[in-house]
C-alpha cells in the first residue's frame, strides 16, 4: 500500500516527544513523579523513537528486516 506507515508513526511520536519534553522543561514542578522529571525523560525517549522511525522511512528500504 502506497503509504509507508513509518512516516505517520515517526511524525506523531516526534511531535508528542517534543510536546512532552517541552512541558517537562517549562513546567518542572508539575512534571515530577517519585522525584523524577518523568515528562522530560520520557519525552526524550519518545523523541528518539520518533526520529528513528523517520530515519527508517526516509532511507526508504521497502521492508525493514522482519522476524
Amino acid at each position: 500500500m502506497g503509504l509507508d506507515i513509518r512516516w505517520p508513526i515517526g511524525l506523531m511520536f516526534t511531535l508528542i516527544g517534543v510536546l512532552l519534553t517541552g512541558y517537562g522543561v517549562v513546567n518542572r514542578a508539575g512534571s515530577v513523579s517519585l522525584d523524577i522529571n518523568i515528562n522530560l525523560i520520557w519525552g526524550v525517549v519518545l523523541l528518539v523513537f520518533g526520529v528513528l522511525m523517520l530515519l527508517g522511512a526516509s532511507r526508504g528500504t521497502k521492508n525493514p528486516p522482519s522476524a
Binding site: M1, G2, L3, I5, P8, I9, L11, M12, F13, L15, I16, L19, L20, Y23, G24, N27, G30, S31, V32, S33, L34, I36, I38, N39, W42, G43, V45, L46, F49, K62, N63, P64, S66, A67
Partner: protein, 728 residues
C-alpha cells in the same frame, strides 16, 4: 469518583493522536479502488506491519484492563494466557494453518469453510462471527464511554458518538489498511504509554524483589485485600510462581484451576480456538503480501506478545503489592457507587446522629447493596462531615425555599401592576440574594457529598479490579504523561472497535451478502420470452455485478456496522449482566470451532455434514454443560447451573476451561463419527490446497533461514519454554 482535570498538554497529545489516525485514513483513501483494497488490503502489507497489527487487534482495552485485573487477583499465573495459551497457538497457526488460509485464496475464515465443506458450515460460522464482532465492538465502546464519563466527566452519549465517529471516519476512508495501520500506531502508543507507568510502579514498590516479598504477604492472607473470602490462605509463592501452585492442585492457587484444565482447556482448546480460527486476528495475516509474509505474521507477533505480561500483568501485581504495604497509602480501587444508591445512603447518613449505629450500619449496607466495612462506616458516622450533614442539607433546603418565596413574591408584584418601581427593585435584589445564598449552600452540599462519596466507596468491602490500571495511571502520571497514558487507553478502545468493524465488514460483504445474493439472484432461470409474436424458451444467466458494487457495499456495511455497535453499546450499558451474557455466548460459539478446523485441515475424510453437525453439537453441548455446572459461591442463573447442578467448580476460570474442553471433545467426536457414516461430497482434487495431506509441501529453500517459519517457530517455542521455567 472525582473527575480528573486534564491540562492543555494532555488534550494536545490526545488531539495529535486523533488527527494522525484520521490523517492516515485520508491518505489511504486514494488507494481504495476495488473492494479487495478496501476489505482485504489487496494482500500487500509488509510482515512487520501485519505482525504488529495481529497482536494489536487482540490487545484491546478490555485485554489491557482485564489482564491487570487478573494480575492483582491471581498473580503471575495470569501469564499462562500468554506462555501456555497464545504463543504455542500462534506458532501452530504460522507453521501449519496459514498455508491453507493464505494458499486457498479465501478472503475470510468462513470462506475457507465454504471451500473445505459447504455453504451451511460457512453460514453458521459467518452469522455467529458477525454477531460476535458487533457485540465485541459495542462492549468496547460502552466501556470507553463509561470510562470517559467517570474519569473526565464527559457526557456518556457524546463520548460514545464522538469516538465512534472518529472510527467511522478512518475506517470508511481507508478500509482494512486504515484499521491495520492504526493498530500498529496503537501498538506503539500502548507500549510507550504504559511502560513509564510500570516503571514508576516498580520503583515505588521497591523493585522486583521487594514486590515479590510483599506478594508473599498477600498470599498468606489474601482476605486482607478482599481478594478472597476470609480464611483462605495460600502458600507463599501462590502469587509469584507460575507453575508450582497450579501443579499443587486447584486449592493451592488463586485461580482455582488444575493443571489439566490449564493445559488442555486454556492452552489447547481456548487458545488455539481463538488464535487459529478467529477471523479478527487471522484477517491481519491474510492481508500480508505473500505466503512467507503471511506465515511469518503470527511469528513476528509472538515476539512482543511473549513479553507483554511485563506490561499488562505486572501492573496488577504491583497494585496488590502496594495495597498490602500500609505505608504506601493505596488500596485496590473500590467499585463506583451508582448515584441513586448514593442518594439513599446520604439520607441514611443524615439521620444517623439521632439513631443507633447498628441500625445505620445495616441501612447503609442495604442502600449500597454490598458488604461494608464496619469500622470505616463507624468512623464515617462520627466524622464532622456527617455530623454537619443534617445542617448542610437543612441550609440547602431553606435556601431553596427562600429562593422560591422571593421569586413568587416578585412575580406577584409584577403581575399586580400597581407596585412601584422601587418595590420591584427591592424584590429583585431579594431574589438575587436568595439565589446567591442558594448557590453557596449548593456548593457546600456538593463538596460534602463528594467527600462522603469517596469515604463511602472506601468503606465498600469489594474491589473493582478493572479499575486497577487506571488507579495506577492516576497515582503516577503528572500532566503530560497522563495524556499519553489516557491516549493509549483511548487508542486501544477505538482500535478494538475498528478491528471488529473491519472483520465484520469483510465477512458480511463476502460471506453473507455476496453468497446470499448469488443464491437468490445469480442462479440461471428458465424463462419464456415473447419475441415478434413468437414465444421461445431461453435460459438467462445474470452476471455478477461489477466489483464497484461490492466496494460500495463494503462502505455501507461499515456505516451499518458502526451504528449496530453503538446499539450494542447502549444494550450493554442498560443491563448489568449484558456483558456476562455476551461473553458467555462467545464462549459457547468459540470453544468447539477449533475441532472443526483441526479435523477439516488434517483429515480429508471429514465431511461437510460431519462438520456442520459437530459444530452445532459442540455449541449446544457447551450451553448444556454450562446449564449443569456452577462455580462455588455463585447462585444458579447467568453464571450457570440453571437447569440442575451436577458439578461445582472451585472458580469461574476452572468452569470456563472445563467447558471449553468439553465442547471441543463433543465437537471432535461428533464430527469424527458422522464423517465416518456420511459420504464425502468433495473429491481429492477439490480439496487440494485445503487439506494437509493433499497439498504439496511448501518448499522454502530460497528464503533465508531466519525467515523460515518452522525454524523461527521452534526458536520461539524454546524461548517460551525457558520463560515458563524462569517463573516456575
Amino acid at each position: 469518583m472525582q473527575p480528573i482535570h486534564l491540562a492543555w498538554i494532555d488534550y494536545a497529545i490526545l488531539l495529535a493522536y486523533v488527527a494522525f489516525v484520521i490523517g492516515i485514513g485520508w491518505t489511504l483513501a486514494r488507494y481504495m479502488k476495488t473492494s479487495s483494497d478496501f476489505l482485504t488490503s489487496a494482500r500487500s502489507i509488509p510482515t512487520w506491519v501485519t505482525g504488529l497489527a495481529f497482536i494489536s487487534a487482540n490487545l484491546g482495552a478490555l485485554e489491557l484492563v482485564g489482564m491487570a485485573a487478573s494480575g492483582a487477583k491471581y498473580g503471575i499465573s495470569t501469564a499462562h494466557f500468554y506462555w501456555v495459551g497464545a504463543i504455542p497457538a500462534m506458532i501452530f497457526l504460522a507453521v501449519f494453518m496459514m498455508p491453507f488460509y493464505y494458499g486457498s485464496k479465501a478472503r475470510s475464515v468462513p470462506e475457507y469453510l465454504k471451500m473445505r465443506f459447504d455453504e451451511r458450515v460457512r453460514a453458521l460460522n459467518s452469522v455467529a462471527f458477525a454477531v460476535m464482532t458487533i457485540f465485541a465492538s459495542g462492549i468496547s465502546m460502552n466501556a470507553l464511554a463509561k470510562l470517559l464519563n467517570q474519569l473526565l466527566g464527559w457526557n456518556y452519549n457524546a463520548a460514545l458518538w464522538i469516538c465512534s465517529g472518529v472510527v467511522l471516519l478512518y475506517v470508511l476512508k481507508g478500509g482494512l489498511t486504515s484499521a491495520i495501520y492504526t493498530e500498529v500506531l496503537q501498538f506503539f502508543m500502548i507500549v510507550l504509554g504504559f511502560a513509564p507507568v510500570v516503571y514508576l510502579g516498580l520503583k515505588d514498590v521497591g523493585g522486583w524483589h521487594a514486590m515479590n516479598q510483599s506478594l508473599q504477604t498477600v498470599a498468606s492472607n489474601p482476605s486482607a485485600l478482599l481478594l478472597k473470602p476470609a480464611g483462605e490462605i495460600y502458600t507463599a509463592h501462590a502469587w509469584t510462581s507460575a507453575w508450582q501452585p497450579v501443579l499443587a492442585g486447584p486449592e493451592s492457587n488463586p485461580m482455582g484451576v488444575d493443571w489439566f484444565a490449564m493445559i488442555f482447556g486454556l492452552g489447547f482448546v481456548l487458545s488455539f480456538g481463538y488464535w487459529c480460527t478467529n477471523f479478527l486476528v487471522v484477517q491481519r495475516a491474510m492481508a500480508a503480501k505473500n505466503m512467507t509474509a503471511a506465515r511469518n505474521t503470527p511469528l513476528v507477533a509472538a515476539v512482543p506478545k511473549m513479553f507483554f505480561p511485563l506490561l499488562v500483568i505486572l501492573p496488577g501485581m504491583i497494585a496488590a503489592a502496594l495495597a498490602v504495604n500500609p505505608g504506601k497509602n493505596y488500596r485496590l480501587p473500590p467499585p463506583p457507587i451508582d448515584s441513586d444508591k448514593f442518594t439513599i445512603a446520604v439520607q441514611v447518613l443524615a439521620k444517623s446522629p439521632s439513631q443507633d449505629f447498628e441500625v445505620t450500619y445495616s441501612e447503609i449496607s442495604k442502600a449500597i447493596g454490598i458488604k461494608m466495612s464496619k469500622e470505616k462506616v463507624e468512623a464515617l458516622v462520627k466524622s464532622d462531615a456527617v455530623l454537619s450533614l443534617g445542617s448542610v442539607i437543612a441550609q440547602d433546603e431553606q435556601a431553596q425555599a427562600e429562593a422560591q418565596t422571593t421569586r413568587t413574591a416578585l412575580k406577584q408584584l409584577k403581575r399586580g401592576g400597581t407596585a412601584s418601581s422601587s418595590d420591584i427593585a427591592a424584590a429583585e435584589s431579594k431574589v438575587a440574594d436568595a439565589k446567591n445564598s442558594l448557590s453557596a449552600a449548593e456548593t457546600k452540599l456538593k463538596q460534602t457529598s463528594s467527600a462522603l462519596n469517596e469515604q463511602l466507596r472506601d468503606a465498600v468491602m469489594a474491589n473493582d479490579y478493572d479499575g486497577v490500571i487506571l488507579s495506577l495511571v492516576k497515582r503516577y502520571c503528572p500532566p503530560g504523561l497522563l495524556g499519553l497514558a489516557l491516549t493509549a487507553l483511548l487508542a486501544s478502545f477505538m482500535s478494538g472497535m475498528a478491528g471488529n468493524v473491519t472483520a465484520f465488514n469483510t465477512v458480511f460483504t463476502y460471506d453473507l451478502y455476496q453468497s446470499v445474493r448469488r443464491g437468490f439472484v445469480d442462479t440461471s432461470r428458465e424463462v419464456t420470452i415473447e419475441r415478434v409474436g413468437k414465444t421461445e424458451d431461453a435460459v438467462i444467466t445474470p452476471k455478477e455485478p461489477k466489483d464497484f458494487h461490492f466496494l460500495w457495499m463494503g462502505r455501507v456495511v461499515t456505516v451499518v456496522g458502526i451504528l449496530l455497535s453503538i446499539c450494542a453499546a447502549y444494550f450493554a450499558s442498560m443491563y448489568n449482566n449484558a456483558m456476562d451474557i455476551i461473553q458467555l455466548v462467545f464462549g459457547f460459539v468459540n470453544a468447539p470451532l477449533f475441532a472443526t478446523f483441526l479435523l477439516g485441515m488434517f483429515w480429508k475424510r471429514t465431511t461437510a455434514t460431519g462438520a456442520f453437525v459437530g459444530l452445532f453439537g459442540g455449541i449446544t453441548g457447551s450451553a448444556i454443560f454450562h446449564a449443569l455446572t456452577i462455580t462455588e459461591g455463585n447462585i444458579p442463573g447467568v453464571k450457570g447451573g440453571y437447569m440442575h447442578v451436577l458439578k461445582e467448580f472451585p472458580s469461574e476460570m476452572a468452569q470456563n476451561f472445563w467447558l471449553a474442553s468439553f465442547a471441543f471433545t463433543a465437537c471432535f467426536v461428533l464430527t469424527l463419527v458422522i464423517s465416518l457414516v456420511t459420504k464425502r461430497t468433495k473429491t481429492d482434487a477439490e480439496l487440494k490446497g485445503l487439506v494437509y495431506s493433499l497439498t504439496p509441501k511448501i518448499v522454502d529453500h530460497n528464503i533465508p533461514i531466519y525467515q523460515k517459519p518452522a525454524v523461527v517457530g521452534v526458536v520461539l517455542l524454546i524461548v517460551c519454554v525457558i520463560l515458563n521455567f524462569i517463573f516456575w
